[in-house]
């Protein structure tokens, strides 16, 4: 039974891997003058978002628009543009939306501070709950209560 389960799991895993492989996009090969430029290019296409297919970055997407944006990025990097230049160019056209890492400003405040606030809030609640449980007074039964319990149990046993 276990081996069968393991086998089907392995088959499923293989399938998952092969599907994944077919989704990999063939990125154009580019020549770079320096290692730094290549690094910058790879970093940028990983960080910029494809606006057409919103859950992929430029490197992963095979949309026509993503290719154009990669080409533009390459063109700018080759001409000696800095990271800020390319990011500025893209945000001027597509807004902050094009960045997977949004800038910290009034509009994105909640986005940045929200998660830590929730973390602290939930840790605080958890802590309070645990403390509360510890401090709960142990209720002791009075002798009259004990007697009534005994009576009840005894009457139940007779039935």
């Amino acid at each position: 039974m276990h081996t069968r389960l393991l086998k089907s799991f392995l088959v499923a895993l293989l399938f998952a891997l092969s599907i994944n492989a077919s989704f990999a996009v063939k990125i154009e090969f580019h020549d770079f003058k320096t290692k730094q430029q290549e690094q910058l290019y790879l970093q940028l296409v990983a960080e910029l978002r494809c606006v057409k297919c919103q859950n992929q970055n430029l490197a992963e997407s095979n949309a026509e628009l993503a290719k154009d944006m990669r080409d533009k990025t390459y063109e700018m990097v080759i001409k000696g543009a800095t990271r800020a230049d390319v990011v500025g160019y893209m945000t001027a056209r597509y807004g902050d939306f094009v960045l997977y890492k949004p800038p910290f400003k009034a509009k994105t405040l909640l986005l940045w501070v929200g998660p830590p606030i929730f973390l602290f809030l939930s840790l605080f609640m958890l802590f309070k709950l645990i403390r509360g449980q510890k401090n709960q007074p142990k209720e002791s039964l009075s002798e009259a209560d004990r007697n009534s319990v005994r009576e009840l149990l005894a009457s139940n046993a007779k039935k």
Binding site: K52, D68, M69, T91, A92, R93, Y94, G95, F97
Partner: protein
């Protein structure tokens, strides 16, 4: 109180998710609204030796429509867009975005307009899509309204439909025409 807090938290979460459900993830706010229109100077489809540029449109309210013959929803939009142009007499540049296809350059775009009608004031040819990127194209069709000062005032993403023409575009064009140039 003990029951109220989890209940309120649940209610807030439901409200947030409901709000998210109503949002269109494809509606990316355009950074161009209120900004000067990105300049282009492109060959005209019918007169390739001539150029049409944003500069030519200064001093009037005009519309820029990005389209392509390979774009299916542009075909769907065409009738509605033609009606908008006919009713408002708004000078409209059709930016023919990356229209490739046959070896005879521009052939498919010409056939498309010949069969569906050409409502445009001028058709600008953007073969490599560089003007498209300058205008932050995500997917054709896209429609921009530019005021007399050359400021982009509105962007409509996707095919324009009758209701949008009557309720958004026509009132906006009329309003912008009353503004000083």
């Amino acid at each position: 109180m003990k029951f109220f807090i989890p209940f309120a938290a649940f209610g807030a979460l439901v409200a947030l998710l409901l709000f998210g459900l109503g949002n269109d993830p494809k509606a990316i706010p355009s950074p161009f609204i209120g900004q000067p229109a990105p300049a282009f100077s492109l060959p005209r489809l019918y007169k390739p030796e001539q150029k049409i540029s944003t500069e030519d449109m200064k001093g009037q309210v005009w519309v820029l429509n990005l389209w392509a013959s390979w774009c299916v929803s542009c075909r769907a939009e065409h009738k509605v867009l033609s009606r908008l142009i006919a009713e408002t007499k708004i000078p409209t540049i059709g930016l023919n975005y990356k229209d490739y296809g046959t070896e005879d350059y521009g052939d498919e775009a010409l056939q498309w307009l010949a069969s569906l009608g050409n409502p445009f004031y001028a058709v600008a040819v953007d073969t490599n899509g560089s003007a498209g990127i300058d205008w932050g194209v995500v997917g054709v069709p896209e429609t921009f309204v530019i005021d007399k000062k050359g400021i982009v005032r509105y962007k409509f993403t996707g095919p324009v439909y009758d209701q949008a023409v009557d309720e958004i575009l026509i009132p906006l064009i009329e309003k912008l025409r009353k503004e000083e140039g």
